[in-house]
């Protein structure tokens, strides 16, 4: 028994931490989808961009500056992506907005590739969270323990924000009915911008945790986590924040179990298998609600 635990604890830890990091991204997806009914393919790349921002800023300035600046940068990036790539297409069919988001992701990736000429950059070590600790048999980085806690804290804050503030109420209204809430005089664009900002903010935090664990940053580093996070969002019921978080943790953990079993080739494929499974048997996900189409 002891052996079993000591053998598998590392997998579990890795799963939980990566799950938490997925959660951070997933929230961004799920909120945007809730409001715009749009899969923001560029979100994963915003996540990567945050990492690069950190790399470059940390090279020139002390940590207590580079951390907040990175977050600020990411938030601005997320905001401008929305402004440039999505706002002009408000009235366009959903398909072309989605295409635009793919294009945006393509652009961001190529841009990052150009700036770094595709070479891996070493992520700076953020002091406290990257020191190693030992939980009885398993040795790991502090971030592994910090991630889940931080995730939950942030989610709780977010839920508070959504349920008890004016802007939060506006968000809920918009996600319920776009047109009506516009007629009700809610400033749609403001709400959407805020949503993207929150999403990017969490992505920035997520990237700090993620890359503290997995220190090499490449232009495509965010693509896979991004997709998985989206799957998590769908799994938990798109539009529902707790759903996204739970989905993310499940995916993170199971993914590592798959690796533990030795089916390493399928560790990514599994995520999508899960997605398709859920889409077929419960298209609304764990916590999603059904939308009727008027005929």
């Amino acid at each position: 028994m002891y052996d079993f635990i000591s053998a598998n604890l590392p997998y579990l830890l890795a799963g939980i931490s990566v799950g938490g990091q997925y959660a951070m991204i997933a929230i961004g997806y799920t909120m945007v989808y809730g409001i715009l009914r749009l899969i923001n393919f560029a979100h994963g790349d915003v996540f990567t961009a945050a990492a690069y921002a950190m790399v470059y800023m940390n090279a020139t300035m002390p940590l207590y500056l580079s951390l907040p600046l990175t977050i600020l940068f990411t938030v601005i990036l997320g905001y401008s992506v929305e402004r440039i790539a999505y706002k002009p297409l408000r009235s366009a069919p959903r398909m072309s907005i989605m295409i635009s988001s793919i294009g945006a992701s393509y652009l961001l990736q190529n841009l990052m590739w150009y700036i770094t000429s595709g070479l891996a950059r070493q992520y700076p070590t953020i002091p406290w969270i990257s020191k190693t600790v030992t939980i009885f048999t398993a040795t790991t980085k502090m971030v592994t323990l910090v991630t889940p806690v931080l995730t939950l804290v942030l989610v709780l804050l977010l839920v508070q924000l959504i349920n008890h503030t004016k802007i939060g109420m506006a968000m809920r209204a918009v996600s319920k009915d776009f047109e009506t809430s516009r007629l009700m005089g809610i400033k749609i664009n403001k709400v959407i911008s805020v949503t993207f900002m929150i999403g990017s903010f969490l992505a920035a935090i997520g990237s700090m945790l993620y890359f503290t664990n997995y220190t090499a940053v490449v232009p495509t580093a965010g693509a896979m986590p991004g997709l998985k996070a989206f799957v998590a969002a769908v799994f938990g019921g798109i539009g529902s924040i707790p759903g996204a978080v739970i989905g993310a943790f499940i995916i993170g953990i199971v993914e590592n179990i798959i690796k533990a079993v030795g089916l390493t080739t399928f560790s990514d494929a599994f995520t999508f298998a899960l997605l398709i499974f859920i889409l077929i048997f419960k298209p609304t996900g764990l916590f999603g609600e059904v939308i009727h189409e008027k005929v």
């Binding site: 053998a7 590392p10 997998y11 830890l13 890795a14 990566v18 590739w113 000429s117 595709g118 070479l119 891996a120 070493q122 990257s130 190693t132 030992t134 398993a138 040795t139 790991t140 980085k141 664990n213 997995y214 220190t215 090499a216 490449v218 495509t220 580093a221 693509a223 896979m224 590592n256 690796k259 533990a260 030795g262 390493t264 080739t265 560790s267 990514d268």
Partner: protein
């Protein structure tokens, strides 16, 4: 609509002309087929540096009908076999006389047929996978092969760490990784050891799971002949997870980034390579000093070398590769692809990485590999030993 169509048509008309326009009078063009970006970008750049340095020393080649300027044309194969063909095509259409490269075997294999179709000789520099030259008559190479390297490392693992259980980790679909891991495993089994092998998908960044299963498998040695990008992650995560099993790898790990990653950790990392900076041979010493000086005079070059002036083995190989190409040109006494193809097999050259001659496959006849290990205090390489073929029962 009509206008834009007309425009397109005219452009299309003009294309053939543009295509024919390229030609170099009084020049001989040597193509550099290296990754300047992507997973093996770092290594590719270092290899290219070696070539450029050689070109800086020997910018011309003298043939019977006068002295020709040697022009280098570099294309970036982006370290991915699917981008490689069009890059190779570009070299072919640039009218190069001979090609050097590449770092990493997959891209070479992907390009081999295209070079072959164009009657263009390619000299592989650090692509160690047998498949590069196997069945590609015009592909030659100046480095040793994975079966050899694998055997060397397997023996080293046995002798140095008297390991009986090994864990190999390779990138899914990377011919270099998979190949070397395979030959290592074969050799290691041959020596009575047992091997557990795993592969991680492209772009993977979470190695804790793999390292854990390495530990669980009770391996006494981890063999991870991955490209540098993954190497750094493996090292940092191994350190973070308190792994103490010695790690071994092939020539790709002979790179500054590895030193950076390993510095300050208590991991033992040993690597086999083509060339040792501390080599006291006259040629080698001269090259090292000259190369360092050349690097240091230009920050951009220094940056391409990974920000330090530590001489990577691939740079030395790159240097030799260029010189071999020149030898071939001289021997053929023309820049004509066919003439070169006729003679390149007979070329011999005393390079900084040792004496180079080709066997019937077009592989270099090499009999020694250097083994070096990281010194985690000073962040430098530490020469361990020269492993000769003769030392090991093949």
């Amino acid at each position: 609509m009509k206008k834009c169509l007309a425009l397109i048509l005219t452009v299309v008309m003009l294309l053939p002309v543009m295509a024919l326009a390229e030609n170099y009078a009084g020049e001989i063009v040597i193509g550099i087929y290296e990754p300047a970006s992507g997973t093996s970008g770092a290594g590719g750049k270092q290899e290219a540096l070696g070539i450029y340095y050689a070109n800086y020393l020997a910018p011309t080649v003298e043939l019977s009908d006068g002295v020709y300027k040697v022009k280098l044309v570099e294309v970036d194969n982006q370290s991915s076999p699917d981008k490689a063909p069009s890059a190779a095509q570009q070299l072919v259409s640039e009218g190069v006389s001979i090609v050097l490269g590449s770092y990493g075997s997959g891209v070479c294999i992907a390009a081999a047929d295209i070079f072959d179709a164009a009657g263009l000789v390619a000299i592989g520099i650090s692509c160690t996978n047998p498949q590069v030259t196997l069945g590609n008559p015009l592909y030659y190479r100046i480095c040793y092969l994975d079966p050899f390297q694998g055997t060397v490392l397997a023996n080293y693992a046995k002798d140095e760490f008297n390991a009986t259980k090994a864990y190999t980790l390779a990138e899914l679909g990377n011919d270099y990784d998979v190949g070397l891991a395979y030959y290592f495993a074969e050799a290691f089994k041959g020596l009575g050891g047992e091997v557990k092998g795993e592969e991680f998908p492209k772009g993977n960044s979470d190695f804790t799971a793999y390292l854990t299963s390495a530990v669980n498998s009770g391996a006494e040695i981890i063999f991870a002949p991955t490209s540098v990008e993954y190497a750094t992650q493996i090292i940092t995560q191994a350190a973070a997870n308190g792994i103490t099993i010695p790690i071994m790898a092939g020539d790709t790990w002979d790179n500054v980034r590895i030193l950076e990653a390993a510095e300050g950790t208590d991991l033992s990392i040993s690597v086999s390579t083509f060339f040792d900076e501390g080599d006291t041979g006259a040629l080698a010493a001269e090259f090292v000093t000259g190369f360092k000086a050349w690097l240091n005079e230009n920050p951009e070059k220094l940056a391409n070398n990974g920000g330090s002036d530590i001489v990577a083995a691939v740079s030395a190989l790159g240097y030799d590769g260029y010189m071999v190409a020149l030898e071939a040109l001289k021997r053929a006494d023309s820049g004509d692809r066919d003439d070169i193809a006729d003679v390149v097999a007979e070329v011999t050259y005393e390079g900084v990485t040792g004496f180079i001659a080709f066997d019937e496959n077009g592989d270099a006849i090499r009999d020694q590999a250097f083994i070096i290990k990281t010194d985690n205090e000073t962040g430098t390489w530490q020469f361990v030993k020269v492993q000769n073929v003769s030392d090991i029962a093949k």
